[in-house]
Symmetry: C2
DNA sequence: ACAGCCGTAGCAAGCGCTTTCTACGGAAGA
DNA sequence: TCTTCCGTAGAAAGCGCTTGCTACGGCTGT
């Protein structure tokens, strides 16, 4: 039923070995023979059997891209950009050789699924794996990840981090592209402070996430530098047994944690406004959350930015269209994703030290202004 | 270096066949033996070799999901939902059996890449393929797609369409979930007409796209029904050699085509306003385009909806947060994606006739209102 | 007590491809 | 003219797993 290499070989009157070599193009084959083989391939409509090929060659052409939530453009943009460098033609060069299949895996932010996907990828002998987004800061999980990644790495899989810091036990085998979340967070809050804000609410992302922590730390750095610091809750690996409440278990009433979604932004903002009616600005963990925050502020009958300023993070495409346009921190998601893709393909050399920090740029727009006289 | 089935077998003092059967769980194995094997697997940290397994079993656990643009939440939501039903655990049942690896492939809307991915998937002997989004209405491409899909289908790959109509030569092997784009488009325009609008501009998606055509047809149906029809340009497979201009080559000056992105919405709206300064409403091909349209309207110094109404399509998450909130047509993207995933997994029976139409719901919000007296 | 079964486990034959090693013919060098 | 070498093609040995078929006890039925 299905056409095999041998069928093609028979039709081209050559040996299977020759057909394989023509297809892989890594061995000298006379032009006339090649042509005959190619014609046979065409005539028979032959399609290589991937599993068989991978088995024999001990490598596959799969590249995994792990994301927390593919419905979120933050990840969609990075994943799409990475795929640009990995799969299909489209690089204009026609049916180029480096054809790989990019596999986007949606972990939903769950550590178990992350590990499961890594196993699945290991099972497929993936050529490379790109890990995007923030990592979960759970020692146990991190250890499991490190072990798994080490195993993948020495099975020949290239590992690339994109927008997340490398694991503590970072081995030299990985390349990492980390966003300057801390610096971006700091500059954003500095901007607010320079406008005259003194009481700033912060809608943070989920706890135990590097991204969440770094952005929040940047925020606090700015606050402290301006002498506005809340009780310092920094350093250490987070207080033990902080419970799961959204309440500022850090002891800081001006910070509320929640998932990275609109609803969380809405509710956390309401909570913040209840706790501290005197806040004049709200910083959200990301743009999506900021949108929810804006809605909440508006529903409370306040105007942005006259009554209260709101800022986001990421500069997703829709942020410029918010009304007023959202002040935020721009992360070059597409560029970073593309670079990660290139790194995964071995098309680009890893940065010195294996890790590069990607700058974040403050985008000042209409949603922030000086507090009312 | 790498642990193989045989190693596990040796350690468990059984034959490789037995280990395989324990792992696949499709053959009776005594409990005690199973336990011994499982322990050996654990001890050795064994990971199945996917390619070898796929080769021997002539099936793989890959499921492909084709999307036009993964950075667009429209696709991200569907893909994520589908993956929910396909990959990883997370269904609460722990390491269930039906573990599959969902592969999201980003075609960028390009026919060639679509075909390329299908070939790659065919090469991997994918268990199923989910095609999302509108199809390109190019006879040649459609024929190629039909041929490719037929080949996939009789290689045992399940084919599911999600949010796109099945191919003309629809064989019974596929299940299709089609959005009621035409009906949604019609109701949206009817709503505008009922508010009193008579001159309605339309920012359409790219030509040669089923989605674009259906939404536009719905719009025109409503117009005609109200006796507002422009020169009827319907039926037929589109005028030949219409050139590539954005201009209303259909002959309808109130319609401008462009890609499904914000920028296109912005520019097309400017063009529309120039051509017909008397329009009182603008319907966009989708929400993203609508955001661009809103920006353009605002930049022209007009207010929404007092001076001009704007409507979108899809009801993406950010639409409710636009200011004013966007009137649009809600498509149950998540539900459809999940259902497609289930269909792909064979967890759900295909709808009668193989094709189901998914209803679109009109969401009336603040961006549309009666035109100024 | 013996034939016949059922429940389990092993044997061995591939699955379709890659790749090392060998072979062969002709061109170039001696 | 004979040897050497290069360019090119074939033979064959796996890659690690699945699975049809066979084999072997102990149970049941008569």
């Amino acid at each position: 039923m299905t056409v095999t290499l041998a069928d093609v070989a028979a039709r081209a009157r050559v040996s299977p070995a020759t057909v394989s070599r023509v297809l892989n193009g890594n061995y000298p084959v006379a032009a006339s023979t090649r042509e005959r083989v190619l014609r046979a391939v065409d005539d028979l409509d032959y399609v290589l059997n991937g599993p068989a090929s991978s088995l024999a060659a001990a490598t596959s052409d799969l590249v995994g891209i792990l994301v927390n939530d593919i419905a979120d453009p933050f990840f969609g943009i990075m994943a799409g950009a990475a795929q640009t460098q990995i799969g299909g033609p489209g690089d204009g060069s026609g049916r180029a050789g480096g054809e790989k299949l990019a596999v986007i895996c949606n972990t939903g932010g769950s550590p178990e699924r992350e590990l499961t996907y890594l196993t699945l990828l290991q099972r497929q002998r993936a050529a490379a794996v790109v890990l995007t987004g923030g990592a979960v800061e759970n020692p146990e999980h991190q250890a499991a990840m490190a072990a798994k990644l080490a195993k993948l790495a020495d099975a020949g899989t290239r590992i690339v981090f994109c927008g997340r810091p490398p694991l503590p036990e970072g081995d030299a085998l990985v390349a990492a592209l980390a966003f300057d979340n801390r610096g971006g967070g700091r500059r954003l809050t500095e901007h607010l402070i320079s406008l005259g804000h003194r009481r700033i609410g912060y809608v943070a992302g989920p706890r135990e996430r590097t991204t969440t922590r770094h952005r929040l730390e940047g925020h606090r750095e700015a606050l402290h530098a301006a002498g506005l610091g809340a009780p310092a809750a920094e350093g250490g690996a987070g207080g033990p047994g902080a419970g799961s409440g959204d309440q500022g278990a850090d002891g800081d009433p001006l910070v509320v944690h929640g998932p990275y979604d609109r609803r969380s932004g809405y509710e956390a903002t309401l909570e913040l406004l209840r706790r501290a009616p005197d806040v004049t600005a709200i910083v959200a963990a990301n743009d999506t959350v900021a949108l929810g925050a804006c809605a909440a502020v508006r529903d409370q009958g306040m105007r942005i930015p006259q009554d209260i300023s709101v800022a986001g993070f990421d500069d997703l495409p829709f942020s410029v269209d918010a009304v007023p346009a959202l002040t935020t921190v721009r992360l070059p998601l597409f560029e970073a994703g593309a670079r990660a893709g290139r790194l995964a393909m071995g098309k680009e050399n890893p940065p010195p030290g294996g890790i590069a920090t990607i700058a974040a740029e403050l985008m000042i727009r209409g949603s922030t202004a000086a507090p009312r006289g």
